[in-house]
Symmetry: C2
Subunit: 228 residues, 2 copies
């Protein structure tokens, strides 16, 4: 039995969507073959790193020739599980939730948000990208209805509520049998072992940026001192 | 001259905001001292990793005693540059831009979004969290006005426009002298060397999540096969 690939190189997995975006553009332009060097140039990376990243999908290029664009697209989409729909409930119909609902990119990656819920009654019935916001209290009932009448099992819960409500929402989603949580709330969730979770921490990105700004300025200040 | 710290361990920098969130809670509860072990337990990490992460801020704990909570908070905020305001323009007043404007967390980290711009005239004058949406065409003029009348120099541009408009927006922001770009558009920007940029790629997070879902299921399927 092949090992459970829990320990895949996360940075490599994270780079695949960017490669996929480029490859889709190349395919649209009718280009049939692409080399690691070509991809590496686009992202200012080492060709060997790109080859390593692509290798985790199981695809292999031909020396001197490179990769067939369509093969590469298929391999990446299959590896990421983007070649089949991921059925989701989104909880939290505020600005962030609406942004996710309206961003076409995710649906291109297979994300199908079936229903949207919020606990703010002022939002009930509001239409966001063709979906009507439902009461959070209907979530369990709605999941049961979808399963019984349409045989639909919700795979993923997208949480875009404030931190204080996130755990309660997560528990409800676990209760309807989601196998994954995409958490945008700035809080760590307690989840059963069999539910995978990815936390989107926008503060992490802000921290890296402001820290780099600070270091850059200290560096420039030092250089000016030396120049005096 | 100390080396330009371009090569700081990014994952350590990324973990600091979570530590800071915990420390702020502890301070609010009146706790004065904290140990690496205590922090590590909270985030399911190794105590030695937490010590390593905190060390990059220059703060050091006392053996057996630990760190003074306030010292740690001050050290992290200073290290991240969160102890002073970062003045920003935000371009793109859609759902994502509004979510960022309304999220109190960032202002707690020093982000002060001075003005908001959009090229959609339907949004001009709209009030989002006490800011009036201005025409993107006013951006340069507005930056000049702020500098001349109030001595305000905009440090950062936050880009929440669609991919196709992002480079044009970035060029305009570079033109008014921002030193950092926080880019939410799914596209790589061409920027001068002296401008630091952080790309928020939500697809990266979605890729890691769906890939882990897929691996988890393949793993379970294999286990079931073996169980038969």
């Amino acid at each position: 039995m092949p090992p459970y690939r829990r320990n895949l190189p996360i940075p490599s997995v994270q780079r695949l969507p960017s490669y996929l975006r480029l490859l889709t553009e190349l395919r649209a332009r009718g280009e049939q073959v692409v080399s690691c060097t070509r991809i590496a140039e686009e992202f200012g990376q080492l060709s060997v790193q790109v080859r390593k990243d692509l290798a985790i999908t199981g695809v292999s290029g031909r020396p001197k020739v490179g990769y067939r664009v369509t093969d590469l697209i298929d391999a990446i989409e299959a590896f990421l599980g983007w070649n089949k729909p991921t059925l989701a409930f989104l909880v939290g119909a505020g600005n962030l939730g609406s942004a996710i609902l309206n961003y076409a990119g995710f649906s291109a990656h297979g994300l199908k948000i079936i229903d949207v819920f919020d606990s703010n009654s002022a939002l009930y019935g509001k239409i966001i990208n063709n979906r009507q916001v439902r009461s959070f209290n209907e979530l369990v009932e709605r999941a049961r209805y979808l399963k019984e009448t349409e045989g639909i099992q919700i795979d993923m819960g997208v949480i875009t509520v404030p931190a204080r409500s996130a755990q309660k929402v997560a528990d409800r989603l676990v209760g309807i049998g989601v196998r994954a949580i995409w958490n945008y709330a700035p809080v760590l969730l307690e989840l059963p072992q069999n539910v995978v979770c990815e936390n989107v921490k926008l503060s992490e990105s802000f921290a890296v940026l402001t820290n780099r700004m600070k270091n850059r300025e200290e560096h420039l200040a030092q250089e000016e001192k030396l120049a005096d």
